[in-house]
Subunit: 158 residues, 2 copies
């Protein structure tokens, strides 16, 4: 079972979309394990370089270059801070665009929890009511949506 393609997408002879596909554009920016671990940590409230290194377990060089890339791409923003007696440093905070990646991180977490289970799992709940965070696909009318009920079409935006 697959999704239902509409219009130009449904053509048997369609060529590669390249960067006309939003999945491809987003993947170009963030489909690297190192990037996703830094985004996870930023979402968890980590802001300082040393904490990113310790909590991701990545090399300092990788951490530095990926934090720089995420900042250049507008997913993180730097903010200056200074500990007493030390030099000025930068800390890294998610931008609105970075925070909008939360559904990607939650979907990765839900899949790993289900299909690659370990001794402990992540349990995600809504602070206001205590209910579990949804991980399935729903429509705006509130229906659970099976994959063969997803209609994918191209829409002109400009």
């Amino acid at each position: 079972m697959t999704v239902v393609l509409q219009g130009a997408l449904a053509r048997e002879d369609r060529p590669a979309w390249g960067d006309a596909c939003p999945i491809e554009r987003t993947s170009t920016l963030i489909a690297r394990k190192s990037t996703l671990l830094l985004l996870r940590e930023a979402l968890y409230g980590t802001t300082r370089f040393d904490d990113f290194v310790r909590r991701t377990g990545m090399a300092e060089s990788v951490t530095a270059s990926q934090l720089r890339a995420l900042t250049a791409e507008g997913l993180l923003v730097t903010r200056a801070y200074r500990e007493p007696g030390q030099r000025r440093r930068s800390e890294y905070v998610l931008t609105d665009a970075g925070r909008d990646l939360i559904p990607v991180l939650l979907a990765l977490a839900a899949w790993g929890d289900r299909h690659l289970p370990r001794e402990h799992g992540l349990h995600l709940t809504h602070a206001a009511c205590g209910a579990d965070i949804e991980t399935g696909i729903r429509c705006a009318a509130g229906h659970a949506v099976a994959e063969d009920e997803i209609v994918v079409g191209l829409e002109r935006r400009s």
Copy 2:
């Protein structure tokens, strides 16, 4: 604003989780652009090697090695087919575990459509009722969930 961490996760001195984190485990398997493009095509109904190559625009060698990896990891399964007068070949179909990655692909698509807009966007609707597919975060009680209302805790599974 960040999520609310609970228990061991909330400790300032927590070390790298490594592969105890389900985001990291899933990322190890699929956080590569080539892998995500093949999963997109499989979700769109592509099953044959030549179609994967044409519709992703990737080199044959990359396509072959990534299809093999996805099959070894249980995200795709091969099925034999034979066109009249030709030799037996394999086609590739999503497994249940592969199909469960749809929320990841939809989240990548929604982000790219919003933050890296182009002339055309993807419009995803529910075939049964016509409503848009939800891209925000909701809880099982149906509330829209802001990021600072997401509680993340560890839960023993075994």
